[in-house]
Amino acid sequence: MTKNEKAAIARKRKHAIMIALLIIVFILFIIPFLLVIINVFKDQADITANPLALIGAHGFTTKNFPEAMKKMDFFNVFKNSLIITTCSTILTIIVSAMASFVIVRNGKWKACAILFALMIASMVIPFQVLMVPLVSVYGGLFGILNSRITLILMHVGFSVSMATFMFHGAIHSNIPLELEEAALIDGCNRWQTFWKIVFPLLKPTIATVAIIDAMAFWNDYLLPSLVLTDKAIYTIPIATQAFYGTYSTDIGLVMAALLLAMLPILILYLFLQKYIVAGVTAGAVKG
């Protein structure tokens, strides 16, 4: 056997070990989800008797789903989550892209410099510092809590710094000034230049911001729990928390509720995982 052949065999063996390891780690990683999936099709007595069995002694059942859906008001909370996430994400993108445009192109203006510096500095403030005053100002003073619109605007306010920072980088390094000058000569004003020339060129960054923010809004718990008090406008995380508080003893129902809460984003991930992984990586590395 030549040296090369030996090396090739060693490499193959290394690959085999690596794949075996990865498969083992991967199974360990998804065991919690698998446990939820196998238990969601059992009734409560079977789960209590043996949570590890694939099928319960009383057989396969799907009765947990309709009951959990009804008690959690699933379609309604799903709709709320969808509305809040979509509106917040779109608004964040529009508002931050516009702000970053004027900041990049007029960095010397005092207002731009101050706003941008404040935004960067504000990114280190944890939510815990702002939650009491937020509730006190908007709940106590103005009484505008418990509305979807308030929550959407707050979501935008919290994510605008990070998004502006990312658009700032994109405009700064990827949009040539000559394009804007050409647009100016062709008769565009700044507003038209932004919407017709700059904004369409920001597509990759828009995708990144959309993915990161939409995931954050969809899963956010603390802010919505402070803003939304009316059951009719609960989002999925709030509804899950409320559901667990009421039905924690009926473990079959809890399994169904948890699976329902996870399902929408898992289904989305199935189709968009390439973009989500790329977006999250871009966001983390640049941010």
């Binding site: 794949i19 390891l21 990865l22 991967f26 990683f29 998804i30 919690p32 446990l35 939820v36 949570p51 590890l52 508002v95 931050s96 516009m98 702000a99 004027v102 207002a111 404040l118 935004m119 504000s122 280190v124 403030i125 944890p126 815990q128 510092v129 702002l130 939650m131 009491v132 005053p133 937020l134 006190s136 100002v137 106590g140 605007l153 306010g157 919290f158 710094s161 502006t164 995931m215 899963n219 956010d220 718990y221 603390l222 995380p237 899950t240 928390q241 667990y244 473990i251 399994m255 948890l258 809460a261 996870m262 984003i265 898992l266 991930y269 989500i276 999250v280 990586t281 983390a284 590395v285």
Partner: protein
């Protein structure tokens, strides 16, 4: 049209940055300043008047033994979680960049926990700890085993385990980007110069990935330090308040015990501790960064 008049500039600024400015100020700047003001009052959350009490809230925050034990617990938890998250994430990233078949599948798979909110993850794991692990324990010992979540040390252990599981996939993606940014030619050059694979890893790849380490450690510290969702759903601070993290303590102080002034003062102290740790970490990591 004149382009250097104040009127033109402010019109342009407000047209583009106005909405961002308003929302940013209303949601972050105003509450931040108002929060500073609240720390000097004893507000009960209901009444309109907010009596001025000077530094009394800070004094009671410094005297609040529960708060400081929550902070100490958070530091302990963060130390374990940050180290483990980064070790696991780095090893996963190493495995999924080694060119094995299906590495994209594994990358996507390890990321799954990050798609789901902390509340749901906490309840999923609560089921695993309380039911599945107990069932396994019963089978192994033949008797009845208590759930890990019902013991004081166990609850902390569970919290660390879940955090590592939750964040490892996310940090892995950043390390993967780091691995990919180190050019193969540099590694090959090191090998030709006589390095073994592990020496090339230690002396070439890892030093060139310092930025990834800086980012990941910073992100994991700042996330672990204000952990709340998983804490709430997995342990609720139980048993006997032994797993109350700082963020949960602040929340309870303000919203459960209605001691808004002290709660806000404690939140501010938490922010300062978190900022100091974050700045120190970034400062020391940046110092060691090298370029190819």
């Amino acid at each position: 049209m004149k382009r250097n008049t104040t009127a033109y500039k402010s019109k342009q600024f407000l047209m583009f940055a106005g909405p961002a400015l308003i929302l940013f100020c209303m949601v972050i700047i105003v509450p931040f300043i108002y929060g500073l003001f609240l720390t000097f009052t004893s507000w009960d959350g209901v009444s309109a008047d907010k009596p001025f009490v000077g530094f009394a809230n800070y004094v009671s925050a410094f005297k609040d033994a529960y708060f400081w034990s929550a902070v100490a617990r958070t530091i302990l938890y963060s130390a374990f979680a940050v180290v483990l998250v980064n070790v696991v994430a780095f090893l996963l990233a190493y495995m999924v960049t080694s060119g094995v078949k299906g590495q994209n599948f594994f990358r996507a798979g390890f990321f799954i926990p990050n798609l789901i909110g902390g509340i749901v993850l906490g309840y999923v794991w609560k089921f695993v700890f309380n039911r599945a692990f107990v069932a396994i324990g019963d089978k192994l010992t033949g008797g009845s085993t208590p759930s890990l979540l019902s013991t004081t040390g166990g609850a902390m252990f569970c919290l660390i385990l879940v955090s590592v599981w939750q964040y490892a996939g996310y940090m892995m993606l950043i390390y993967v980007a780091g691995f990919m940014s180190v050019s193969d030619t540099l590694k090959e050059a090191a090998m030709i110069d006589g390095c073994t694979a592990s020496q090339a890893m230690r002396n070439v790849t890892i030093p060139l990935m310092r930025t990834s380490f800086t980012t990941c450690i910073f992100l994991s510290i700042t996330r672990c330090f204000v952990v709340y969702d998983v804490n709430l759903s997995l342990t609720r601070g139980e048993p006997f308040f032994s797993s109350v993290m700082a963020a949960m303590h602040v929340y309870n102080k303000a919203f459960t015990y209605k001691d808004y002034g002290t709660g806000q003062a404690e939140a501010l102290i938490l922010f300062i501790i978190c900022a100091i740790i974050g700045i120190l970490q970034v400062y020391f990591s940046k110092k060691g960064e090298v370029e190819a």
